[in-house]
């Protein structure tokens, strides 16, 4: 196991996906990547619980305090578009990293971080507007479950932005541990996961009327 970690750390492969088979591990795959997929699988349970709780409680509100009174679909659609496009810029960063093109890797990672920040800013604006209109965290079971679900997602996006900027910093200083392309790919997997969770939230929470 220690050998495996050392081999992974020194990055004994050229960075393409199919080098997963070249890893000196029991499975022949990258342990880091395997762990990331396992982590994302477990995250499905976290967000599944939050989405289910929201679905159960979305009707538990006062007569004029329901989703239809607060949602601003055009604004949320624009936010969704921004996050969707950040998935594109992320995948462009991953392909650039596989080509060992540091300049474009950093460029696309930075654009992804900017788009992610824009999404978080939109969420902060949305929360502030809802609060001013009378939808506080403890106003109803609906509001509590809504803020918890979208808040958890927002925190995940924020963590993703930090990961993206940290990766840019490490690439600039040439301090990436192990294989650079794999590190960018792992950050990308996390980022895309945040996007697919929003795909679910956008439809189930915003587009389907309570």
């Amino acid at each position: 196991m220690a050998d495996t970690a050392v081999h992974d750390a020194v990055g004994e492969h050229d960075g393409s996906d199919h080098d997963d088979h070249g890893h000196h591990t029991t499975t022949g795959l990258s342990n880091n990547k395997l762990a990331m997929w396992l982590f994302l699988g477990s995250e499905c349970l976290l967000f599944g619980g939050l989405i289910s709780t929201y679905m159960l409680y979305r009707g538990r509100h006062s007569a004029n305090g329901g989703p239809d009174q607060f949602w601003d679909i055009p604004f949320t659609s624009a936010s969704s578009f921004v996050l969707l496009m950040s998935s594109l810029t992320m995948v462009l960063a991953v392909t650039a990293a596989k080509r060992k093109d540091d300049r474009n890797t950093n460029l696309w990672l930075t654009v992804t971080a900017v788009l992610g920040s824009l999404f978080v800013a939109g969420q902060v604006y949305e929360f502030t507007t809802f609060y001013r209109e009378g939808l506080g965290y403890t106003t109803s079971l609906f509001s509590s479950s809504f803020y918890t679900l979208t808040g958890f997602h927002g925190v995940h996006v924020s963590v993703g932005v930090i990961m993206l900027l940290a990766t840019v910093g490490m690439i600039l200083k040439n301090r990436v541990p192990g294989d650079k392309a794999e590190v960018v790919e792992l950050v990308g997997l996390y980022w895309h996961f945040v996007d697919i969770v929003w795909i679910l939230i956008f439809t189930l929470v915003y587009l389907i009327p309570a």
């Binding site: 289910s52 159960l56 998935s87 439809t203």
Partner: protein, 109 residues
């Protein structure tokens, strides 16, 4: 023999992925953006679409979800063990929370 098949499959998958240029990813992202637009348009047509409203929206949502998972996250081209890790978690979540929603009579009219 089985090793040969595995190598052949791997080669095919490599070949497939090699064709996924940046342009392909851009095309996919644009398609997903169009689907998002269609979803938003559908959300304003609850009364017009009647019983088709929910299946249409959920279908489009799943198309977007699996497009990102399979292509942007490379799960279609990667080793199946990665798919297993993810789909086990996803399947468990769907099963557990569907059961929970049934328990709370969420699907009852």
């Amino acid at each position: 023999m089985s090793t040969d098949i595995a190598h052949a499959t791997e080669h095919d998958e490599t070949h497939d992925e090699d064709h996924w240029s940046d342009l392909n990813y851009i095309k996919l992202a644009l398609a997903l953006a169009v689907i998002t637009g269609i979803e938003v348009a559908i959300s304003y047509m609850v009364d017009d679409l009647g019983a088709f409203f929910l299946p249409l929206l959920l279908g489009l949502m799943l198309i977007k979800f699996f497009s990102v998972v399979l292509f942007f996250m490379h799960l279609k081209f990667d080793n199946r063990l990665f798919s297993l890790m993810f789909y086990l978690g996803l399947g468990l979540a769907v099963a557990v929370y569907t059961a929970a929603l049934f328990t709370f009579k969420f699907f009852s009219p």
